[in-house]
């Protein structure tokens, strides 16, 4: 709160916000659901969003409210449920982990306005077999601002996979602020995948922060299939030795979409690795931005870091801003970073045409191959296949067609 007052919201003069105008996103007069009105909406009827071949437990967040129809899980070693509930049952744990994002006015704004959120806590040694799925739905018959929050606590040796999906059930313009905070204790392993498939009316301001301790392993991926303006600020701090992090991003954008991923990976301990891959496929007059900074502090000797940002501009009016950065204060490290912006390969397109493949199909195959490369990094095979299918459908039928939900199919 104090930070928000002192600094105000970010402007394009802020280094980390130079590609996205936050003030413009916040400008419309949004409604806030302060009265905690129950939204007469049963997400289970419309949004099944299943991943074939994977057992999963699904939890809905409708607007900014954790859905009442969710089945609360609290078996002693796994908690999945609302933050309000968690605060009553485990106030000390909540206090220890909640609201640790620093220096981020948008996260501070979210903290100020947020009324509930989801907590996933996996206790020491618990290995969760099922996929934990969170479905966030934008709703409302007037423009709404939804403030969402997630807290993920991975205790020692815990393992879990989380799939976070953003969908929209409204044609009204709306904005979601999201803060995802996660802590990975020693030896824990978290796979966190976020899929954004809303509409061009849905803007998103997301701040994601993970702190990793010794020998923990994080696989993070955000996949933007469709959205309005989308901005993700991702901060990953490697505080314990031998921590590994793999950060991936896939962005498919068309029309006048604006997608900005801003990543900061801080190496504070020796022998850690970070492996970053972001790919954008930009069509229409869309604008993509990627800034990824890997900061290797003096004590982080033997850091192994790889950062790649590859982009495909398939239309002449699409634009990409890319800025991979390395800042190294240790002397014994192995770090690489690079970025490319390219067009579809005409020689390959003609080779395919000679084999009878139409230019449309050829373009599809090339874009899909470019995009699938990111999904290869997803270990859960059924999920990877599902996402590959969604990407293919997205290219084949245009934005907003995942093929499973009533909303999308309609």
């Amino acid at each position: 709160m104090q930070f928000l007052e002192a600094r105000g919201l970010p402007t394009r003069k802020d280094e980390r916000y130079k590609y996205t105008d936050v003030a413009a996103v916040l400008e419309p007069d949004f409604g806030l659901n302060l009265g905690r009105l129950s939204l007469q909406f049963d997400p289970r009827q419309t949004y099944r969003c299943r991943v074939p071949g994977l057992g999963s437990s699904v939890h809905y967040v409708v607007g900014d409210s954790v859905a009442e129809s969710n089945v609360l899980i609290d078996d002693g070693s796994l908690f999945v449920g609302s933050m309000v509930e968690f605060a009553q049952r485990y106030p000390d744990i909540l206090r220890a982990y909640y609201n640790k994002v620093e220096g981020d006015s948008l996260a501070a704004l979210n903290t100020l306005l947020v009324q509930d959120g989801l907590v996933i806590r996996v206790a020491k040694g618990r290995k969760v077999a099922d996929l934990l799925q969170i479905v966030n739905l934008s709703v409302g018959s007037v423009p709404m601002l939804a403030n969402r929050r997630q807290l993920i606590i991975m205790e020692q040796g815990a393992e879990a996979s989380i799939l976070n999906c953003n969908h929209s059930a409204t044609r009204c313009s709306n904005l979601a602020t999201e803060v995802v905070e996660g802590v990975l204790a020693e030896g824990s392993h978290l796979q966190y995948y976020s899929v954004e498939e809303t509409t061009n009316n849905c803007n998103l301001l997301n701040t994601t922060q993970f702190v990793q301790h010794e020998s923990s392993k994080l696989d993070y991926a955000s996949i933007t299939l469709n959205s309005g303006l989308s901005r993700r600020t991702i901060n990953i701090t490697l505080d314990g030795t031998h921590a590994q992090t793999a950060v991936s991003g896939l962005v498919l954008a068309n029309d006048n979409r604006h997608i900005d991923n801003n990543l900061l990976v801080v190496h504070n301990a020796p022998l850690c690795s970070s492996d970053i891959l972001y790919k954008y496929v930009l069509d229409g007059s869309s604008i993509g931005a990627f800034a990824g900074k890997v900061l290797v502090n003096a004590q982080a000797q033997k850091t192994d870091s790889q950062e790649t940002n590859a982009n495909l501009c398939v239309s002449p009016t699409a634009r990409m801003f890319t800025q991979p950065m390395l800042e190294i204060y240790a002397d014994d490290v192995k770090c690489n970073h690079g970025s490319t912006v390219g067009q579809l390969d005409d020689t390959a397109l003609f080779y395919m045409a000679q084999r009878g493949i139409t230019p449309e199909e050829g373009r599809l195959l090339l874009q899909q191959a470019f995009a699938w490369d990111v999904l290869q990094r997803i270990d859960l095979l059924p999920l990877r296949q599902r996402l590959m299918h969604m990407v293919e459908e997205r290219f084949r039928r245009g934005a907003g067609a995942c093929g499973d939900c009533v909303m999308c199919a309609g």
């Binding site: 390969d345 020689t347 390959a348 003609f350 080779y351 395919m352 045409a353 000679q354 084999r355 009878g356 493949i357 139409t358 230019p359 199909e361 195959l365 090339l366 191959a369 470019f370 699938w372 490369d373």
Partner: protein, 246 residues
């Protein structure tokens, strides 16, 4: 089958083909020889409709249809196949997906439903064996990291999959070792029928020992300067092209 009349073509404003006339009938195998840069690959590319090459005059018909009016994919669907001198690598697109898209595109053109997964795999296996292509290669990205010889073999595999009426082999023999050349040439021969024809571009006699051409043409500086029987190829092998330049 193929009638080329007075074709002139240029690349980047420079005229490469300066009036080509060529007639290929079903059942025939033609050989096209000529020094480096004489325009052999350019002629092949003009036939398949590579947009890098501009036809400035002349006509080409294929089974009576105006070929130059057709987009490249339709020329393929009509039955024209070019085995590339330098096959193209397509990272990330698997051979299987690529071939399946190609087979289904042709089926769609013919008004047929897409091929079933099982039938497709059966077809791949059969054709692969015909040209001796390693099973692992069909699971990899198109030509990516293939050796020179594997790429050429892969071209003939694709030919086998698409069963063209007219095949243009642009130096398919170069880059193949002696055994591979025999396997590929034998595969090519097995695919021949009285309804198919081929234009084989080569610098070497070796390939011709297997495929037994009917007619040999020699190209010099964008023109066909001599047409003859198979003995013409033997003479070029021993004497070169100088005697043809007056």
């Amino acid at each position: 089958m193929l009638e080329i009349k007075n074709i002139h073509a240029s690349v980047e404003g420079k005229e490469i083909l300066k009036g080509i006339n060529l007639s290929v009938k079903a059942g025939e195998v033609h050989v096209l020889m000529g020094p480096n840069g004489s325009g052999k690959s350019t002629l092949s590319n003009v036939i398949v409709g590579n947009p890098q090459y501009t036809v400035t005059a002349g006509t080409i018909t294929f089974n009576g249809k105006d070929l130059l009016a057709m987009p490249p994919e339709d020329r393929s669907h009509e039955g024209i196949f070019m085995s590339y001198q330098q096959p193209v690598e397509i990272p990330g697109v698997s051979m299987n997906n690529f071939m399946r898209a190609a087979v289904n595109a042709k089926r769609k053109y013919q008004g047929l439903p897409p091929i079933s997964g099982g039938d497709f795999l059966k077809m791949v296996k059969e054709k692969r064996e015909l040209v001796g292509l390693d099973a692992g290669l069909t699971r990899r990205s198109v030509n990516e990291g293939f050796s020179g010889g594997e790429k050429k073999r892969n071209e003939i595999f694709q030919m086998a999959m698409l069963e063209p009426l007219l095949t243009i082999l642009d130096e398919t023999d170069s880059g193949l070792d002696v055994d591979a050349l025999r396997i590929v040439a034998e595969g090519f021969n097995k695919l021949r029928t009285p309804d198919t024809a081929a234009i084989c571009i080569t610098h070497y006699q070796r390939m011709l020992d297997y495929i037994r051409p009917d007619i040999v043409h020699v190209m010099l500086d964008g023109r066909i300067v001599r047409t003859g029987g198979p003995d013409l190829a033997y003479r070029i092998e021993s004497e070169g092209f100088d005697w043809l330049k007056e």
